[in-house]
């Protein structure tokens, strides 16, 4: 977005300028080209192919036929797809604000207090991000487990029955907990880095004006890191809406609770790979991708922060 300085360009002769322009053209495309090929082959082509596949239907008799939007009509009237989508929406509404509040609180504490312990804490809080989501889900699966998890011991101390985070309604909170544990530290690091980038002179000025610590946090720090907050909100949205790994892993431990249609992604996976129904699986994938894209874009547009992020 940076323009070449105008007076400099004016001094050059026209021929030189066109030579430079040609160089910019060629070199620009040479640098961007390799990624461009990968982009076309691994993003544009699969999306186009998914769209194409989603318009067909394979039948036992009569082979594959063009059905236009039938798969989409089917998806949006399919109780499995709708209940999975509804779960993901509810899950986003609870888990995303929670993750962001936890991350923000930790970032503000770590920014305000500097000691050996806070440096250590910063690393430890970030640690779960370094863990594959699958391994994180496996670990929490153990902790929730009735046969070798610590919950039974812990609640046994008080003579209470342990909550079953793998069953019934509690699976929702069991998953909220896993996701928060996994991602809050990563978001914290992004917010912390943004906080560290604020000029300390601003705090000094605020203190001169009589602002307390809370006022500095609420009126100076948080407003100044709005772009970073927005960035992690978008990350969390995109990540949560394509929820797959954690419930897929916990399925074997919570067989009665997590069905193959628990989230739209799991449903698409089941349709494509368990039932070999690639057309319908593609339609679900494409619909889901489209909804996420439109949703995130609309969000950025309406918050008028599109430019600051992009």
């Amino acid at each position: 977005m940076i323009e070449k300085s105008a007076p400099d360009a004016q001094q050059r002769t026209r021929r030189k300028r066109s030579k430079i322009r040609l160089r910019e053209q060629v070199m620009g495309w040479l640098f961007v080209g390799p990624f461009g090929i990968v982009f076309l082959a691994l993003l544009i082509a699969p999306l186009a192919y998914a769209l194409y596949l989603s318009l067909f239907q394979k039948r036992l008799i009569g082979g594959t036929s063009f059905v236009f939007l039938d798969n989409y009509v089917k998806a949006f009237t399919d109780p499995s797809f709708l209940s999975g989508s509804w779960f993901v929406v509810r899950f986003s509404l609870v888990s995303i604000p929670l993750q962001i509040v936890v991350a923000l609180a930790m970032a503000l504490i770590l920014d305000a207090v500097t000691s050996m312990f806070t440096r250590f804490s910063r690393l430890m809080i970030f640690l779960p991000y370094a863990i594959p989501t699958v391994i994180g889900a496996v670990m929490w699966g153990f902790l929730y487990s009735k046969s070798f998890g610590p919950l039974a011991d812990l609640f046994g101390l008080f003579g209470a029955a342990p909550p079953d985070f793998l069953g019934g309604n509690l699976i929702f909170y069991g998953l909220v907990n896993i996701v928060t544990w996994q991602w809050a530290g990563y978001y914290m690091i992004i917010l912390y880095a943004a906080l560290q980038g604020i000029d300390p002179a601003l705090y000094e000025a605020a203190r001169m004006d009589g602002a307390g610590k809370w006022q500095i946090a609420l009126r100076i720090k948080i407003p100044l890191i709005t772009p970073a907050l927005l960035l992690i909100l978008v990350f969390a949205l995109i990540g949560t809406l394509q929820f797959f790994n954690e419930p897929q892993i916990l399925r074997s431990l919570a067989a009665g609770t997590i069905g193959p249609d628990f989230t739209p992604n799991m449903y698409a996976y089941q349709q494509a790979f368990a039932l070999a129904n690639f057309n319908y699986g593609s339609a679900i994938s494409f619909a889901l991708g489209g909804i996420v894209f439109v949703g995130v874009y609309a969000f950025l547009f309406f918050t008028r922060k599109r430019r600051s992020f992009l």
Partner: protein
């Protein structure tokens, strides 16, 4: 600045530090559980002893030996596979992202704005939506169930391009590039010897994030691979967990392998993050500051 304040009134921060202490415990509990329980044998694991403390018999070495010999040492293969996928995929994705980010930031060519907005749009496309169609395409080329089915898709990293673009735009002044050109350096040399060193923190960040993303990948290899000797460790452990849950009583020994396997699979990532942390954090802040 913050340090001055804490030196003046250290006691006022005590409640915050205590709160932080509780959070740290919460974040570490799963690790503690895995470290403790990977020392146990099957009776220790299921014997009803304290699940958050060591059993009488601590047998890391025996368990490790079991882990790496079970099923002809398949676990070791999974770790090697993950390493290969993470290194090749991560390096490839980084090279592409660094070049593209620099190209977008430093050259004004026709179609630049349009292409860059495509890349930004791609940030919002959920990666999992691409898995099924990519699988279908790859199966037409006979690429499924090969290592390429995992490595090639991990070359796509629009976020890396975005990060490199922002970083190159801010950290590499045009004047320096023009000076290098005036001194007779070609474009490639200018890029490698002048721009690249300035972009290093972001390059390390993109490399680390891409490698970790490949190491963590689950959905894609789960869909692409059917031969368990090609599995990365994530899919392998998921497979074991499914087997162990399916016949709980018959596979108590498998549970201890899964617990230790989870611990071992985490070690390389933790080492990578902590040895490189000084480099990557600087690069990560960039995306959040605009």
């Amino acid at each position: 600045m913050t340090r001055d304040r804490s030196r003046r009134r250290p006691q006022s921060h005590l409640p915050l530090q205590v709160l932080l202490g509780f959070l740290v415990v919460y974040f570490l509990v799963p690790f503690w559980w895995v470290i403790v329980n990977s020392s146990k044998d099957a009776p220790g694991l299921f014997g009803g002893g304290n699940t958050l403390w060591f059993a009488d018999r601590i047998d890391y070495l025996g368990n490790l030996q079991q882990l790496f010999t079970y099923d002809n040492g398949i676990y070791g293969r999974w770790i090697l596979n993950s390493t290969l996928y993470a290194l090749v995929g991560g390096l490839g994705a980084t090279v592409l992202a660094v070049m593209a980010g620099y190209g977008f930031a430093k050259y004004r060519f026709t179609g630049r704005r349009f292409s860059f907005s495509l890349v930004l749009g791609a940030l919002m496309v959920p990666a999992t939506a691409l898995v099924i169609p990519t699988f279908m395409m790859f199966s037409e080329f006979g690429l499924t169930n090969t290592i390429w089915a995992v490595i090639i898709p991990s070359l796509l990293n629009p976020f890396g391009v975005y990060l490199m673009h922002v970083y190159a735009r801010d950290a590499v002044p045009d004047e320096i590039l023009d000076a290098a050109r005036a001194d007779g350096a070609g474009e490639v040399r200018t890029f490698l010897q002048v721009a690249f060193p300035l972009m290093r923190p972001a390059v390390v960040t993109v490399l680390l994030l891409s490698a970790v993303a490949s190491w963590n990948n689950y959905f894609l290899p789960l869909a692409m691979l059917s031969d368990n000797r090609l599995f990365p460790v994530t899919v392998g452990l998921g497979l074991w967990q499914g087997i162990a849950s399916a016949n709980n009583a018959g596979s108590t020994s498998l549970w201890s392998l899964i617990i230790l396997g989870a611990l071992v699979s985490v070690v390389p990532l933790v080492i990578a993050f902590f040895t490189l942390q000084r480099h990557w954090r600087g690069g990560l802040s960039v995306g959040g500051l605009r």
